[in-house]
Amino acid sequence: MTQALPPEAEQDEVMEISMGPQHPSTHGVFRMDVRLDGERVLRLKPVFGYLHRNHEKIAEAASYLAEIPYTDRLDYLCSMTNNWGYALAVEKLAGLTVPERAEYIRVIVSELTRLQNHAGMVGFLLQDMGASGTPLMYAFREREKVLDLFESLSGARMMCNYMRFGGVRVDCSAEWLGQAAKVVGGFGGFLDEFEQLLTGNEILMARTQGVGVLPRELAINAGVTGPGLRASGVNYDLRKVDRYGVYERFQFRVPLGEHGDVFDRYMMRVLEMRESVKILEQALRDIPSGPFIDPKARLRGLRPKVGEAYARIESPKGELGFYLISDGSPNPYRYRVRPPSLINLTVLEDMCLGQNIADVVVILGSIDIVMGEVDR
């Protein structure tokens, strides 16, 4: 929390800077009130709300089905996983089942989402560090291929609106699965090339190792989830812990960091992409035939029984949770999103204290936030 100011004589050296909301490194409209002693950060308070549209209130007026496209716009890079989190909550609330093929399709599109999110995140992180252009272009070249797949499957590149309660909206063709296998097959090569360029790079190591260290205990207590938590050495991946969907059928490892610094958080993303490729290869190989949505699932006019449900998934950003309360009417009485981007920012100040202002940019980039989800 707030550090004591230096002695009186030095106080006039202290500078207050408002960083953002229109700053190229803040990943959207995000502001930080920073107090600096020279280049050293003494205090940092994040300011939110520039993109607030009261997403949760909108949902209270919409039917359960009509809420799905709104969830696309939370973390607008990962609409597929947002859909899944919400669909899972409604399925828990209403007691719906999902056919096996739909579970496999969900895993496939979600792991593709993880690939494109992490590739983009690493590209942006390097961009923030001053590696203008090249890494981001490489990352976006790969991301394009995934978005093309989404487009041919759902009709949209980013706002996919693809999942439904009890399954998915449209089936994927054998041809699409072939295309996906091709993209996945080429991804390992991209990662090798990417890592050759970056991981051993002296400048990258100097800028990230030992910077923005997040201790294990603080990470747990502050509710940090996702790659940020695992970079601090905590083995907690909901795909392994909750085993939602059909994740227990796939062989994959959970990469863990040792130091909890920016470099570890960077490495988590790279290693997780390699694990996602493994999951995708297995899922694309094993996908069974059958219905892609439960034929008994009622989409329009769904009225779950009075009650509540909390469901969570491992989204690329961390634990994405949805909490729903039904009063028996066609729209939820209460709809709550647990936004990983917002909660992961709880420790931003702790990680930045005592660091240089230039490192704040890198530390923020390593958390991986999307303001659509932070502000809702």
């Binding site: 209130k57 007691g95 509710g223 029984k305 909390y310 634990e319 709880t346």
Partner: protein
Amino acid sequence: MTLEEIRSRLEAFVPGCHAEIVVNGSPSAQNSLLIDRRHGLQTAMYLRDHPELQLDFCSNVTAVDWPDREETETIKTRKIVDGVEKEVEETKKTTIPGYLEVVYHLFSIAKKEGPVVLRMHTANRTDDVTLQSLTPVWRSAEFQEREAFDLFGIVFEGHPDLRRILMWEGFTDHPMRKDYVPPPDDDLELLAVSKPGA
């Protein structure tokens, strides 16, 4: 440990604590524990530090608004009307006072278990909306409690930095309440302009 075991232990080991199981009727079957509002902090510390529970991870913190509601009951009574005993229907209206509710979803990373759902109620929706903050126990509640303060108007006692988080500082209402009426768009713009720096 089942919820019933947690409840009885809480009542035994947290002096004065009253806990009640709230049954959830949906197929999710996630029942919750309703804690009286004076023992939130002690309960939270007990749940976090108990070696068998180790609820070290507070995932989700949120609030729910339950406004005053009227319940009409029809009671059939036998009355003597004009000397003849008849069955008469009477409607009785009772107002159930509203309250604000906070909900915490707790998990254990150490034991890979959860969720344990904790709830607390404020005394009413108007002048006694204070609850104990659980941020001293779980830092993850810091921004989420600020959000509940901002959007629902619940005051968290013991919160290190209780300010509005999503709405601006000059804003006075609580938009997530069920009876919130948004001002016309032009007014909102004027409001924002007339409060520079907010």
